[in-house]
């Protein structure tokens, strides 16, 4: 399992290109991520980690350069295909969790697959299985706005996993958690990694990048790659 799953090539992203408030958020990044990697993007705030994750996750398009996913160039695909990739290949855990307020934990977890042909009762079973796996079953019918930060994150994790993604992306996952909860989170990620998922996390928290299984650490600074370490 050493073949490359994602390869970026001179990836560059400008925000507001050509305007007075132009920002070069990512500049000329070329990295390769392999199947089953546990990759960490590290670097100080504003170094372009979130932008990088967003590019890798097909949330936005590069200004120049390319991204290949399993050998296929996805940087110029039409919107519909990007959505399809988001739905089938990625599970994204947002920094702010982004749960739909007013809905229950279970409904939030089921959310990504509603517009597919899936059978709702089956989907519900699957979601319950995921909640069981991360110890959230007792909160199943709670509206998400009443949950603690850790519980909200677990809900977000379960939601990211509902489509059996090959690649799990997480942006600053420990930013809102205390040390104990951060370790719990990493345990969940480790578990996923051990099950063969590719995990990519953007973080400047040592708990995330200083551990034995973080095989690939990409250090960023001002949008560019400073240093790549592979264990």
């Amino acid at each position: 399992m050493n073949e490359t799953i994602i390869q970026t090539n001179e990836l560059t992203k400008y925000y507001n290109k050509g305007k007075a408030n132009e920002v070069l958020a990512v500049s000329g990044v070329s990295v390769g991520i392999r199947h089953g990697d546990f990759a960490v993007l590290k670097g100080p705030s504003g170094s372009g980690k979130t932008t990088m994750l967003s590019l890798l996750g097909c949330m936005t398009r590069p200004t120049s350069g390319s991204i290949t996913l399993e050998g296929r160039d996805i940087s110029h695909l039409p919107e519909r295909f990007l959505t399809d990739i988001r739905r089938t290949t990625y599970g994204f855990i947002f920094q702010q969790f982004h749960l739909i307020q007013g809905m229950s934990v279970l409904q939030n977890v089921m959310l990504p697959l509603y517009p597919t042909d899936v059978d709702l009762p089956k989907l519900k079973k699957k979601a319950e299985g995921l909640l069981e796996g991360i110890g959230m079953m007792k909160r199943r019918d709670f509206p998400v706005q009443g949950l603690s930060g850790g519980e909200q994150q677990r809900t977000a994790i379960a939601r990211a996993l509902i489509n059996d993604p090959e690649i799990v992306l997480a942006d600053e996952p420990t930013a809102h958690l205390d040390t104990a909860l951060s370790r719990d989170f990493m345990a969940i990620m480790k578990d996923l990694w051990e099950k063969g998922k590719t995990v990519i996390i953007a973080s400047h928290d040592p708990i995330v990048f200083e551990n034995e299984y973080a095989a690939l650490v990409v250090e960023m600074r001002d949008g560019a790659v400073r240093n790549v370490t592979r264990k």
Partner: protein, 390 residues
């Protein structure tokens, strides 16, 4: 996409709407009220016009009134002979009628001279009409009968213009099915009408002209007017047109009363149409980020508009129907009928114009759906990147 996925999206939409129960039920309530009011008015005026048209089909093609100093005056009966000599006129008959205010029950009656008998087998009259020359008998409308507690065989007493009491045996009462036409009528023999109103001899209230061919009625009206410049001919077409106008006017009045609700609703729809709330925008972004397609989001918004507008339309139109045809438009009746002692029993036949209902549906459901979809369109086609950042 299969049926299942559409149902799933609808499921999600309903879930999402139920999150804001208070707001969404409020919208449905106001929307239903709007459809109810508009629907009631449409039902009422359409049925009323259809009924009026059918009922008035038998009225005289031409009425000739005499005007004096700008007021309606009695007309000399001998003019009938001259008018009937006009080409195209098949008959002229004087009408004797007037109003009678009953001090006892404080109601207005319409007194009318009989000029023949109803065709055999007419089920709307219990008993008979007085003969044209008959004295001392009367046929009365259901409203009069109710106001005066009379039945066939009772007597009804009226005070003549000369001040003396005149008693009439009631020989006929109109059935309630004819109330829209006869509620306040008292039909007497001609000599009794003349005596009651102390009309001068050889004078009638007006003349009813029958013509051979109705399309010629306007020409005949013109001839009557040039022969007798002090007359005013009224065509049956004008009568029917009057009813259109009267009803349009009355419905307009009701609409004005509810204009406030209408305006409130338009503001609400406008508010929705011109911008999404930050929260809604964010939710659309989240859905996109987790794998919903633009078309899924548009579909969800379509369902959202449909659920609210279709529910409101269906409820409103059902309520309007029940209100108008089962409860006699009780909410609007006061504004429609005005105050009076003798109310016609307001049971309209439920004539329905499918075209009107389809129009009402198109004018309520489609704009509402559009106003939910269009503003979310822009949010749905933008990159979900913004959302990632929160």
């Amino acid at each position: 996409m299969s049926l299942n996925s559409h149902m799933n999206v609808l499921d999600f939409t309903l879930l999402s709407l139920l999150r804001r129960k208070f707001k969404n039920f409020g919208i449905v309530l106001v929307f239903t009220l709007i459809v109810f009011i508009t629907g009631s008015i449409l039902f009422l005026s359409y049925s009323f016009k259809r009924e009026a048209l059918l009922i008035l089909k038998g009225s005289p093609e031409l009425i000739v009134q005499r005007m004096s100093a700008g007021r309606q005056e009695l007309i000399p009966v001998d003019r009938a002979k001259e008018i009937s000599a006009l080409p195209g006129v098949s008959g002229v008959e004087p009408r004797y009628w007037g109003y009678y205010y009953d001090l006892l029950v404080k109601a207005n009656y319409t007194i009318l001279a009989s000029s023949g008998s109803l065709s055999a087998g007419n089920r709307l009259l219990q008993g008979r009409l007085p003969g044209p020359e008959e004295k001392g008998v009367a046929a009365v409308g259901r409203g009069v009968a109710k106001a005066r507690f009379i039945d066939i065989g009772s007597t009804i007493s009226l005070v003549s213009s000369a001040g003396d009491a005149m008693d009439f045996d009631v020989v006929g009462i109109f059935e309630s099915d004819s109330e829209l036409l006869t509620a306040d009528l008292i039909v007497l023999g001609r000599p009794d009408v003349i005596r009651l109103f102390r009309m001068p001899p050889y004078m009638a209230t007006d003349l009813a002209v029958t013509v051979r061919n109705e399309t010629e009625a306007p020409v005949i009206a013109g001839k009557v007017r040039s022969r007798f410049p002090d007359t005013r001919p009224i065509l049956r077409k004008e009568i029917i047109r009057t009813y259109d106008a009267v009803f349009g006017w009355r419905s307009g009045l009701i609409l004005t009363l509810f204009a406030g609700a209408l305006v409130a609703f338009i503001i609400l729809a406008w508010d929705k149409a011109t911008g999404l709330s930050a929260e809604e925008k964010k939710e659309i972004g989240i859905l996109k980020a987790i794998g919903w397609e633009t078309s899924d989001i548009i579909e969800m918004k379509f369902w959202e508009g449909l659920v609210i507008s279709l529910s409101s339309f269906l409820l409103g139109i059902i309520l309007a129907y029940v209100h108008v045809y089962f409860f006699g438009a009780s909410v609007f009746a006061p504004a429609l009928k005005g105050w009076s002692v003798i109310y016609p029993d307001f049971r309209l036949a439920p004539f329905i114009d499918p075209y009107q209902i389809a129009m009402l549906m198109a004018l309520t459901v489609i704009p509402y759906i559009a106003s939910t979809i269009i503003p979310s369109w822009k949010a749905a086609i933008t990159d979900p990147d913004e959302v990632v950042r929160g």
